[in-house]
C-alpha cells in the first residue's frame, strides 16, 4: 500500500464517527501493512494451492466443529425446521437487513459507490416497506443483492488472504477474513457489540435463526460434505478457498488461467 493510499484512508477515517471504528481501522492498517508482505497473492500458492501452516490446529478445531454440528447445531436446525419456511425466511430477511448498513460502510471503504447506493436503497426499502426488515421488499423491486464484509475490504486494499484458518463454530476462513469477521462484529451498527440496552440481544438471535435455517436448507450438501467425505477437513478447506476467491475476484480474468486441461497432461500435479 502506498503512502497515497494510507493518506486517502485517513481522510475516510475523518468522515466516520462510529465509536471505536477509528481505533480498529488504525490497528488494521498496521496489520495490513505487515501481512501484505507475507501473504499469498503469490500465484504459486493460489487456485490449486493453499497456505495451511496451522493444519494440525485447524484439524483439531474442525473435529470440534463437527462435534458441535452433529450434537447441537444440526439437531437444533432440524427442530427449527418445523417452523414454516415462510416464517423462517422472515428471520433471515431481518438478519440480513441488520447487516446492510455495515455492508454499506464496507462498500464505502472499498470505494464502491454504486454498492453504497444499493445498501442505502436496500436498507431504506426493507426497513420501511419491508416492515422492519422482515420482508425483502428491495428484492421485489429488482434491487441487486449486496454481500460484502471487512474481509473483502481488506482484499480491495491489497491485503492477501494469509493462512487458512478454521474458526471454532464459524468454520473455514482465512487470516484476513477471520480478522474481517471480528472487525465487522465491533464496527457494524447492528451487532451485539454496537447496540445498547436490552435490544442488543436481537441481532445475535436473528443471526442464529438465519444460520439454523440455512443449515436445514442446505442439509443435503452440508451433511454429505461433513459426514460422507473421506476427508471433510480437506474438502471444506478446498471448497471454502475456491469459493471465497471466486466471490472476491469474480469473473475477472486472472493472472494465470485457473482452468484445468486434462487433455494436456492428465497426471499434472
Amino acid at each position: 500500500m502506498s503512502a497515497l493510499d494510507v493518506r486517502r484512508m485517513t481522510q475516510l477515517l475523518g468522515l466516520l464517527s462510529f465509536r471505536g471504528i477509528k481505533k480498529a481501522v488504525l490497528a488494521i492498517l498496521a496489520v495490513a501493512t505487515l501481512t501484505a508482505c507475507t501473504t499469498s497473492q503469490d500465484p504459486a500458492a493460489r487456485i490449486d494451492g493453499f497456505n495451511d501452516p496451522y493444519e494440525t490446529q485447524n484439524r483439531a478445531i474442525h473435529n470440534f466443529n463437527k462435534g458441535f454440528d452433529k450434537n447441537l447445531f444440526r439437531p437444533v436446525s432440524q427442530g427449527y425446521a418445523y417452523i414454516p419456511v415462510e416464517i423462517r425466511d422472515l428471520v433471515n430477511n431481518f438478519s440480513e437487513n441488520l447487516a446492510t448498513p455495515g455492508e454499506g460502510i464496507n462498500s464505502l471503504l472499498q470505494a464502491n459507490l454504486p454498492n453504497v447506493g444499493i445498501a442505502i436503497v436496500r436498507f431504506g426499502m426493507n426497513t420501511t416497506i419491508g416492515l422492519g426488515g422482515i420482508i425483502d421488499a428491495a428484492d421485489a423491486f429488482g434491487v441487486p443483492d449486496l454481500n460484502t464484509d471487512f474481509g473483502e475490504t481488506l482484499f480491495v486494499w491489497g491485503v492477501g488472504e494469509g493462512a487458512y484458518v478454521e474458526m471454532p463454530i464459524f468454520g473455514p476462513s482465512t487470516q484476513r477474513d477471520a480478522f474481517g469477521f471480528v472487525v465487522d462484529f465491533f464496527t457494524n451498527p447492528f451487532t451485539y457489540a454496537t447496540v445498547d440496552g436490552p435490544l442488543r440481544i436481537i441481532p445475535p438471535i436473528a443471526y442464529t435463526g438465519a444460520q439454523l435455517n440455512n443449515r436445514d436448507k442446505f442439509k443435503g450438501t452440508i451433511d454429505a460434505l461433513l459426514y460422507e467425505s473421506a476427508d471433510s477437513y480437506t474438502q471444506s478447506r478446498s471448497i471454502y478457498l475456491q469459493n471465497r476467491r471466486f466471490e472476491l475476484e469474480g469473473s475477472v480474468p486472472q493472472d494465470e488461467d485457473p482452468y484445468i486441461d486434462p487433455y494436456l497432461d492428465p497426471y499434472a500435479e
Partner: protein, 201 residues
Amino acid sequence: MNTSLSLSRRGFVLGASAVAGLGAAPSFAMTENQAIALVDKVVADINRVIASGKSDDAILRDFETLFARYADVNIMAQYALGPDGRAASSGQKRAFADAFKRYISRKYGRQFRDFIGGRVEVMSARPIRAGFEIKTTVFLRGQSPYEVTFHVSDRSGQDKFFNIFIEGVNLLLTERSEIGAMLDQRGGDLNRLIKDMKTAS
C-alpha cells in the same frame, strides 16, 4: 445471450453431423454454438428425467446414463485419480472410470429435487485451450441465483463436458482431492476403492 433453441439450431445440425462422424478423427472444429447447444441439451435432458416421475433410484440411474452421454468420463476419471492412476492397469482404469461415473452422478444427482422448477441461462462463452468455457446462471426456487461454468471440448471425438465449476468451485479439482483421500483411507488399494465406489449408496 439467449438460450433459445432456434438460436442454436445450426449448432444442432452441426452437432448431429459431428456425432455421425463417430470413429473418425477428432474434428477440432467445435463451434461456440455447438458448445452452447450442448449445455442446452443436457439441461433439457436433466429436466426431462426429473419430471419423469420415476423412483429415485431409477432417476439416479438415468443421470448416470446422461453423465456418460454428455461428459468425457474417461478423461475426468483419469484426472480425478491423478498420479495414483499411473500404476493402474488398463483394466483397472476402465473399472475406475465406470465406478467414477456412478459415484459422480449419484453424489451430485442425489439433490435433484432442488432443481425442480429451476432454469439455467447461458451468460457468456469464450474459447479456452481445449474448447470452450460456457458461463451460466442457475435460478433455483427459493435460492439466490448462482454461477455455474461448463468446460466443453471435442478432443474426445465428440462434444463433451470435461469440467464444471459451481460458484468458483472446481469439480475435478475437488474430487481429485477427495478420491485421493478415499484411496488413502483404503491404504492405496485401488481395487477396493473401485469396489466400494460401485456399491456405495
